[in-house]
């Protein structure tokens, strides 16, 4: 006849195993809780530092850097391997889409780049300069009739790092200068007008004949 008081006794080996199991799963629990806490704080901090993030190396990536002065237009870019055209448009700029032809272009290779556009600071200045990694790529001076107001509206894309496919132009800056709509009134024109559009497009190899 078996002794009922001995039925639920466990051996020393089982006890040690049980303690090891509890310790291991407690570690898993603590690791998961700490990881969730760290991840939540990382998600708050990441957008603050304007850092280029590349998850798909076959796509463009861009982020506009934090402004350190008025009209500070600097970007960190990633272009997949290949050859690209950096384009500047100053006329027939609309608030959406690509309605203009490039007035100046420069070739830019794939890889990571820091791009900067220096725009005119007031209505008297008309010089636009674009540089990549400190080397000047585009210098263009507009005519006196261009952007007479000096005031503008526009987009600031890529405030947060983002990616987009290379078959679409990567528009980095869009600025539309206000135009007179009366003796003392200036409005953003509804028709394509003077402005600054900076974009990058892939150079497509011509079809072999």
């Amino acid at each position: 006849m078996s002794d009922p008081s001995r039925r639920w006794q466990v051996g020393l080996r089982a006890l040690i195993l049980l303690m090891a199991v509890v310790a291991t799963w407690l570690t898993v629990h603590v690791n998961r809780r700490e990881s969730a806490r760290l991840d939540a704080r990382i998600q708050v901090m990441k957008p603050l530092i304007r850092e280029l993030m590349i998850t798909d190396p076959s796509q463009f990536a861009a982020v506009k850097l934090d402004s350190l002065w008025i009209d500070d237009n600097r970007w960190d870019l990633y272009l997949p391997s290949g050859e690209y055209r950096l384009c500047l448009g100053t006329r027939l700029i609309s608030s959406k889409g690509l309605t203009t032809q490039a007035i100046k272009t420069a070739t830019i290779k794939g890889g990571k780049h820091r791009l900067e556009l220096k725009a005119p600071r007031n209505a008297r200045q008309r010089l636009i300069q674009v540089s990549s990694d400190g080397a000047n790529l585009i210098t263009f001076e507009e005519a006196k009739d261009w952007a007479v107001s000096g005031s503008y509206s526009g987009d600031t894309p890529f405030v947060f790092s983002a990616q987009q496919p290379t078959d679409q132009p990567l528009i980095l800056l869009r600025r539309v200068y206000m135009a007179p709509s009366g003796p003392t009134r200036w409005l953003t024109p509804t028709e394509p007008s003077d402005g600054i559009l900076l974009w990058i497009e892939r150079v497509v190899d011509p079809e072999p004949i």
Partner: protein, 214 residues
């Protein structure tokens, strides 16, 4: 037999737990490294009382360039004013809390000394013309700096104010400025060159109404 089954089950749980502990440990180490890297750039800002504004200075490595990590609670209107007379911010509070990096940078543009601010939007105010700019030029590191929250995390109640930065000219630059600056700049830039304050400044007391016949 039952003992053997229990031991086998415990062994399986231990093996699975061991793998889970290893993989979650790897993930935690990766996140901790990422967190530490981001803290270098943005500062650590643990939130105690979520109804208060939390603020901590971040080193920039550049003289006269100041930055703070700020946590703005929900429904907290954030406004600022500087000694150059420029105010701004978001008087209408956002409905959800947000974090940001605020910057104040004193620099020279085309011979003019400017105070650039970037909080909820970027703005700039002129501090002084070429004489003030030349007084400061090359001597930026001599200016006496009092930066809010540079030593520890600070909190501000709703409606409270804080002077984020106070820049004072050292005695030798004050003496030089007394000779070179025009009377207006002397009265407004000596000894305190620039201040930047979060929150509304106290309104000036209204003059007492004059009674008819007085």
């Amino acid at each position: 037999m039952i003992r053997r089954i229990i031991e086998v089950v415990l062994l399986i749980l231990l093996a699975i737990g061991g793998y889970q502990a290893w993989s979650t440990g790897q993930e935690r180490t990766r996140l901790q490294a990422e967190f530490d890297r981001l803290v270098q750039a943005t500062g650590d800002l643990p939130i105690g009382d979520p109804s208060k504004l939390h603020i901590r200075a971040i080193p920039t490595g550049e003289p006269l360039h100041f930055a703070w990590r700020i946590h703005v609670p929900a429904n907290y209107p954030l406004v600022y004013q500087d000694s150059a007379g420029m105010g701004g911010g978001s008087p209408r509070a956002m409905t959800s809390a947000y974090d940001m990096i605020a910057r104040v940078r004193i620099h020279e543009v085309d011979g003019v000394l400017q105070a650039f601010k970037n909080l909820t939007g970027a703005g700039s105010s002129n501090l002084g013309e070429s004489t003030l700019a030349s007084l400061i030029r090359g001597r930026e590191s001599k200016i006496l700096v009092e930066q809010f929250a540079s030593q520890r995390l600070e909190t501000i109640d709703l409606g409270g104010t804080a002077e984020l930065i106070r820049l004072t000219l050292p005695p030798d630059l004050q003496a030089e400025g007394q000779k070179s600056l025009d009377p207006y700049e002397r009265s407004t830039k000596i000894p305190v060159l620039y201040t930047f304050r979060l929150g509304k400044t106290k309104p000036k007391p209204e003059p007492a109404p004059t009674l008819p016949g007085n």
